[in-house]
Subunit: 414 residues, 2 copies
């Protein structure tokens, strides 16, 4: 039996749904708009995409997206297609062209969203997946249980290397586990990457030498390939334990090459995710998208946060985090660590934990830590204690009675 | 004077438009959701994005995209932002994170589309752009004037290398200028890349030796970086004159690395463009998108075709083609060749030429060539003659009186 790739879509079509499904399957495999003399029954049986499932959901009378065929009724359905792996091999870039290629532009399509992906074992042979994942990250960060308590350097851009290091000093002295560059902070002349790494790691290393605790700092090395490799090596040489790359900015080949080169966990930022997902009737769900990046090597993946300051609903955030924690396939879990951020405080800990049933995650807060009236150390402690309460199933107010930092935090978090 | 990057957006917001513009500018530079002690006036003046222009277009009473802030009125406007290049340097990946990063997810945004981009000269110093462009492509293809007449191997997938070569034989004997793999055809076991290149180039080279005309074949080498480099070298070693990569599948680092390695023109496929563009209220216009890929090295860029079989309107197709033919910047034109495809015949030649005022393009037709009652050679000739008529300003019917192949084509094209 040949291996097959399965992709699931939410489809809206002005055509007969069965015909639309066949057109999509054809366009993405051996067919085209017109009957082809070369597309023999044997060829189609061997190479054609197969409609595995077509379930009608409902109908609407106006199309979600313009440009499609005109109709009085637009049918919404769940469509599952499958392809033989022989069509393109176990190749992530070519997988992309097939499951997320021209089909979005078809006239038969007035809405199309890629909602699910199941890959055969060959992909796990071809791609190594995260090198560190949850366990490796915990080891490097020295956090055996509970979430990594983290934050993001702010302002995003504009600080000098020394000003950045000064902020890092406050954070590591406050006991933070994880710090990241903002995704906008790269290698500009005001804050060159090399100077930033040297200044920050001087602080981190000094603190680690003194206390035994080395905070993990995700330096944003996003750039051209030579730059990313060189920057990675610099971070490594200065004792750093993490690098960060913006996935949509470097692309699949960029992340895959970084993974092959890297000796540190790759913190994967999803900036640009909005243009891939913000229309419910178009684009990508997070589950199939993050799976591709995990195969390519992402150790940490951003999932927004509950009650975030962006436009994403809580159920979407939780679905995304569950996807990151779910195995890529039974034969190769390739588990990565979800990263929660945006408007986060200890108030989201219990709900986040309840939804996931585990704390293998990075929880980053900015104002939720820096805003603490007793300072950064109390801010870190309060967020950590909020997670202790969540994991132990103790109400936050009750736990706060035993913890002054948490008690003080509840005032300004609310 | 510092160099600045300018990006233009179509914005829909439920907030006061001025406040929304400020929030977007802040989020994509030195600000965040809350006031930061570190964001001093000096820092903001140095590193903040600037609202250069905000023009109200109209208002609507329902938001285009869900998840944003609730309002009774949603204002649509043109927004132009600028950033100092010092924020991230002349780096295409970091440009992406900045102009097309988190901003799409903001609650202030109920619609956002990146419509324009102006880059300072530093980017042309950092990136070489297309190595061949129009002139280099014309030289390699031996086509001094008029469009390259092209086609795509069909069925897209499923043919063996020998069957592919057989189709190529028919095409080169018919006098075709350009042939491309389908974007779904990669390196599967039924049609391995190496065998395909060898079989096809044997035919192309034999024909070139005999006639002096060597058709340009764009072999789809999309894959991981090592694979792309190796495949490129194989094409080069066998006398091939073009390679093809799917941009959304390899990403910016992938294309840039291929450009650095390549000694052949890069035919850039835009499969997946639909998920970036199909919602008019979200994502990307083609003009800014293709500019980034040209800087990274794309020589040919797909633009769909007039009266195509997909969902794109003609005015969008022409805007895309004009963007590809327009200079990236006055100091560095980096002109690339637009590729027209999808349901194309000679009937689109005159309108395409009228809209562009030039024929520096690749015009690919499938059924429009293969369907010719007198065979492939007549199909190629008919399409070429349709362009002669278009360029000379002669009506197609009149020109057909002098040309039997064109005359016969008019019957089945219509």
């Amino acid at each position: 039996m040949s291996e097959r790739i399965h992709a699931t879509y939410w489809l809206e079509t002005g055509d007969d749904p069965r015909r639309a499904a066949d057109v999509i399957a054809g366009e993405q495999s051996s067919g085209t708009f017109v009957a082809l003399p070369g597309e023999t029954p044997e060829l189609k049986a061997r190479s054609g995409a197969r409609v595995e499932r077509l379930e009608i959901l409902d109908t609407v009378d106006t199309p979600s997206l313009p440009g499609g065929m005109k109709s009085d009724v637009y049918t919404r359905c769940t469509l599952e297609l499958s392809w033989p792996i022989e069509n393109f091999g176990a190749s992530l870039p070519n997988l992309m062209s097939t499951i997320a290629g021209n089909l979005f532009e078809l006239r038969q399509v007035s809405g199309l969203r890629l909602t699910g992906l199941t890959l055969p074992p060959s992909f796990a042979t071809a791609y190594a997946g995260p090198a560190f994942g949850i366990d490796g990250t915990r080891k490097l960060a020295g956090v055996a249980h509970g979430p990594l308590i983290g934050t993001i350097i702010k302002p995003s851009v504009g600080l000098s290397p020394e000003e950045t290091a000064q902020q890092v000093r406050e954070l590591v002295e406050g006991g933070i586990d994880f710090i990241k560059d903002d995704e906008l902070q790269a290698d500009g002349p005001h804050c060159p990457f090399d100077e930033r790494v040297k200044a920050v790691m001087r602080v981190v290393n000094e603190h680690a030498d003194r206390t035994g605790k080395k905070a993990m700092v995700a330096f944003n090395l996003t750039g051209d390939l030579d730059q990313m490799r060189r920057r990675h090596d610099l971070v490594l040489a200065h004792g750093g334990t993490c690098v960060m790359a913006v996935l949509n900015s470097v692309g699949l080949v960029g992340l895959h090459e970084l993974r092959k080169h890297a000796q540190l966990p790759i913190h994967a930022h999803r900036a640009g995710w909005g243009y891939l997902s913000r229309s419910p009737e178009l684009g990508w769900d997070y589950a199939p998208w993050q799976m591709i990046w995990r195969l390519a090597g992402a150790d940490h993946l951003h999932v927004n946060g509950l009650r975030n300051k962006f436009s994403e609903a809580d159920e979407s955030v939780i679905a995304a985090a569950r996807a990151v924690l779910a195995p890529v396939m039974p034969e190769a879990p390739m588990t990565a660590m979800p990263v929660f951020s945006s408007g986060q405080t200890g108030l989201q800990a219990a709900d986040t934990y309840a939804a996931l049933g585990r704390a293998d995650l990075i929880h980053t807060a900015g104002g939720g830590i820096f805003g603490h009236p007793q300072g950064v150390a109390a801010g870190v402690e309060a967020l950590r204690e909020a997670w202790v309460a969540a994991i132990e199933g103790v109400p936050l107010d009750t736990h706060a009675e035993r913890n002054p930092a948490l008690r003080a935090a509840l005032g300004f978090w609310k």
